[in-house]
């Protein structure tokens, strides 16, 4: 596609449920990032995929968070046993391979945990 797409756009779930957020990066982009944006805060790095290399998971806040990237393209961020503090906008971005190349962001998924 022309840009990074994310689905769903909005997700409301109950505390304790699992959720999956999807990201379709720009075709040909080898790097994919997930960020979290809580209300009134900047973006917080979660995880980074680059080609076939092992992902950088250093930003994941707890073991309830996980992500995978299949076939070097689509990525899914999974949050298990959601908590109210997980409520945020989850943004996905892709790039040719970082450095001076800027990241292209998707529109995000707004997650609300009741």
């Amino acid at each position: 596609g022309a840009g990074v797409s994310q689905s769903p756009s909005n997700k409301v779930t109950e505390k304790g449920k699992d959720v999956e957020l999807r990201c379709d990066p720009i075709s040909g982009h080898t790097a994919l990032y997930w960020y979290r944006q809580s209300l009134g805060q900047g973006l917080e790095f979660l995880i980074y995929f680059q080609g076939n290399s092992a992902p950088d998971k250093s930003g994941l806040p707890s073991d309830r968070f996980s992500a995978e990237r299949t076939g070097g393209s689509v990525s899914t961020l999974t949050i298990q046993r959601t908590q109210q503090e997980d409520s945020a906008v989850y943004l996905c971005a892709s790039s040719s391979s970082g450095g001076y190349n800027s990241e292209f962001f998707g529109p995000g998924t707004r997650l609300t945990v009741l």
Binding site: A31, Y33, Y35, G40, Q41, G42, L43, E44, F45, Y48, Q50, A54, D56, S58, G59, V89, L91, A93, S95, S97, G98, G99, Y100, S102, E103, F104, F105, G106, P107, G108, R110
Partner: protein
């Protein structure tokens, strides 16, 4: 670890006027990249301008320019001839030039600044 600080949470400017958004950062690295992103209500993060730290010349993109002061670790954004469409959240971000083993090319963001443009 690197940090990015945007000390002004909100600013306003009159249409057609000029406004400067401030950003400071902390790093021990000598080479890095700096970015300004804009986030309108649609949530879509849009790159405004970027700067390579090893370049002394300040980057410019049409009405947008930066004042990069490496020694002071300052990276301010100047918007000239402000337009209503410039109203958004603006985020300053940092990326390391050298990637440590097991690390990544992630962006480190400031908390953002809300810009209002008054007609």
């Amino acid at each position: 670890a690197q940090t990015v600080t945007q000390s002004q949470p909100e600013m306003s400017v009159q249409e057609a006027e000029t406004v400067t958004l401030s950003c400071t950062y902390d790093t021990s690295e000598s080479d890095y990249y700096l970015f300004w992103y804009k986030q309108p209500p649609s949530r879509q993060m849009i790159l405004v301008i970027r700067q390579e730290a090893y370049k002394q010349q300040n980057a410019t993109e049409n009405r947008f320019s930066v004042n990069f002061q490496k020694a002071a670790k300052s990276f301010s954004l100047k918007i000239s001839d402000s337009q209503l469409g410039d109203a958004a959240m603006y985020f300053c971000a940092y990326r390391s030039y050298y990637i440590t083993q097991g690390g990544s090319e992630k962006l480190v963001f400031g908390k953002g600044m809300k810009l209002t443009v008054n007609p």
